[in-house]
């Protein structure tokens, strides 16, 4: 199935990126070409191959359950585009 304009529009909404209507067509063509190109992987039979789970041979390290962080609201909010009374603020969300 070719990657069409409507699919790109749907994906862009999912990714929350505004793509101007006039760019959808060319973007769809580019993406379709890239997707078509990566589909060459279908040449390889991989039924019995496990997907790579980790690049390095390292065991997942565990932390002790200690409070070692936080209590740094100034740092957390330092770069906020909008903050009010210790909160981040955004335009009202309507559910």
């Amino acid at each position: 199935m070719p990657l069409d304009k409507a699919t790109v529009a749907r994906i862009a909404t999912l990714a929350r990126i505004r793509v101007p209507e006039e760019e959808l067509e060319s973007l769809a063509a580019e993406m379709d070409k890239i997707i078509g190109w990566v589909e060459q992987l279908d040449e390889v039979t991989t039924d019995d191959v496990p997907p790579m789970a980790s690049v390095v041979d390292v065991e997942l390290p565990w932390r002790d359950d200690e409070v070692t962080d936080g209590d740094c609201r100034d740092k957390v909010l330092a770069n906020a585009p909008e903050k009010v009374e210790g909160f981040f603020a955004v335009s009202k969300v309507l559910e």
């Binding site: 993406m31 496990p50 690049v55 906020a80 585009p81």
Partner: protein
């Protein structure tokens, strides 16, 4: 005495130790060089005051250590540049993206913190492809970086490679003794090859990723970009080390890389992967590769043909895995907590406006590809398939390393190309990484060493790949290639050489 900014890191280190000059003098020379090379657009942010302050502190430490007050760090007093993907406390960090407008981290990345602890100072933050997505440093919101090299008899501006193009250009132009890079699919090695310097991507897990703006978490790895192999060994030693804040960081001793340099390659088995000899490869690249084999043979190594049968699938595998991870890693840039916010009528619109405005074309394209390959109904066909291919690619390497100690390949399929070339065909651009991506997918250490010049006078690199965590063997082979190549060509634009 030659200009201070033209010294290698090792020479500068020794000069400082002997008291031939101070770190302040060394740093001032580099600040001047950096200012003189502004036309390269290698830096997003220059931090001369910070560099001088670090230099003063270093000089003071050296005085006290000379009188018995503790040892000097391994990079004591050396001014370097930092790719603008590393978060630096109190210094604007942009990832060369509009979406990080004004972002000033309240924290220091582990790798840069390690470098400062070793005594180094920061000259500035270098330009890169936006979020490290690119192979030419042309997708930066802050404009392209220019390669200090020119084709002989041609003044066309060339790309420095990417994504660590600002770092590569700065080091090649002698505006920094060395620079940090990050490599996801070749972002250290390919620009090193394009700019005629040494670029080292260590084993995945060798350097902490904490505080580095993430592109593709399972591939991203920091490494040094320097003018010599020895400098690379010195700098990697300072950058590397276990970090409890990164779950993928390896809890291993960092070997003395510099000590490994002079061990030679006698008896070393060097694998030549047949699949890297691709159709349409330029004869000069083939010739350079042959030259590399000859050099190593002459130094006592044995060439062994090996096969990495899944090589041709590495690039398409990479272009599924990396965008998939990126699409998720870049979700945090939403205009809520930092960086750019473009208001909208609704929250949904605010997100779309912010991200539509904040991300450039290549980042948008990759985030959309990544979103697509992970979306319902496509996961198995693309992402899972790619992760299975990754297992096969890794297996190829493991089997090859049963027979050989190190692999020798070209770094990039071509020398630097002109700014504006390959811009309209993403796949042609992606092909730049055809030789570097396989090692990235397998998490292996790899280095690019400048080995010669193309017919029109541009640098070309050879790549060495070794076992996980066997950077020492990589350094031995790299040193042998460097020695034999005796690469001493200089870029057209070199700060401080009076040209």
């Amino acid at each position: 005495m030659s200009e201070l900014n033209c010294l290698t890191m090792a020479q500068a280190r020794d000069g400082l130790a002997k008291g031939d000059f101070t770190s302040v003098e060394l740093t001032q020379a580099h600040i001047a060089a950096l200012e003189a090379s502004r036309e390269l657009n290698a830096f997003v942010t220059e931090t001369p005051e910070q560099a001088l302050e670090a230099a003063k502190a270093s000089d003071a430490r050296r005085v006290s250590s000379n009188s018995g007050g503790g040892e000097a760090g391994s990079m004591e007093g050396l001014p370097i540049a930092i790719k603008d993907l590393f978060c630096t406390e109190g210094v604007l960090t942009t990832a060369s993206s509009h979406i990080l407008d004004g972002f000033t981290p309240q924290y220091e990345s582990t790798v840069t913190a390690n470098l400062w602890r070793a005594g180094a100072g920061m000259l500035g933050k270098t330009n890169l492809d936006e979020f490290a997505m690119g192979s030419a440093t042309v997708t930066s919101y802050y404009g392209p970086t220019v390669n200090p090299w020119r084709r002989s008899g041609d003044d066309k501006k060339l790309v420095p490679g990417g994504s660590s193009g600002g770092s590569a250009a700065a080091v090649a132009a002698r505006a920094a003794l060395g620079a940090t890079g990050t490599d996801t699919g070749g972002s250290i090695r390919q620009p090193a090859s394009f700019c005629g310097i040494v670029g080292i991507k260590p084993t995945y897990g060798r350097c902490s990723r904490w505080g580095i703006v993430a592109f593709a978490s399972s591939l991203d790895q920091a490494g040094p970009m320097t003018r010599t192999v020895r400098d690379g060994a010195i700098m990697l030693g300072a950058m590397a080390g276990h970090d409890a804040r990164d779950s993928t960081s390896a809890d291993r001793e960092v070997p003395d890389f510099e000590a490994a340099l002079e061990k030679g390659v006698k008896g070393l088995k060097v694998g030549i992967p047949e699949e890297y000899q691709m159709k349409g490869m330029s004869p000069e690249l083939l010739a350079l590769w042959d030259q590399g084999k000859a050099w190593l043979t002459a130094a006592g190594a044995e060439m062994v043909p090996v096969s990495l049968p899944h090589t041709k699938y590495a690039l398409p595998t990479y272009y599924i895995v990396a965008p998939a991870e990126a699409s998720s890693n870049l979700a945090r840039y939403d205009g809520v907590r930092y960086g750019l916010r473009e208001e909208g009528e609704t929250l949904q619109e605010m997100y779309e406006n912010t991200r539509g405005e904040g991300f450039g074309a290549e980042v948008t394209r990759r985030v959309l590809i990544g979103t697509y390959v992970l979306s319902a109904g496509y996961y198995d066909a693309y992402y899972l398939k790619a992760q299975k291919l990754r297992t096969l690619i890794s297996r190829d390497f493991r089997e090859a390393f049963d027979k050989v100690d190190v692999l020798l390949t070209p770094t990039a399929p071509s020398p630097a190309f002109a700014i504006g070339e390959k811009m309209d065909d993403p796949i042609a651009m992606y092909l730049n990484d055809v030789f570097t991506v396989p090692a990235s997918l397998a998490g292996l250490p790899a280095a690019s060493i400048p080995a010669g010049l193309s017919g029109d006078g541009l640098p070309l690199g050879l790549q060495l790949i070794t076992h996980p965590f066997d950077e020492e063997t990589m350094f031995r082979a790299a040193r042998a290639v460097e020695d034999a190549a005796a690469f001493n060509a200089e870029p057209t634009l070199m700060a401080g050489d009076g040209s």
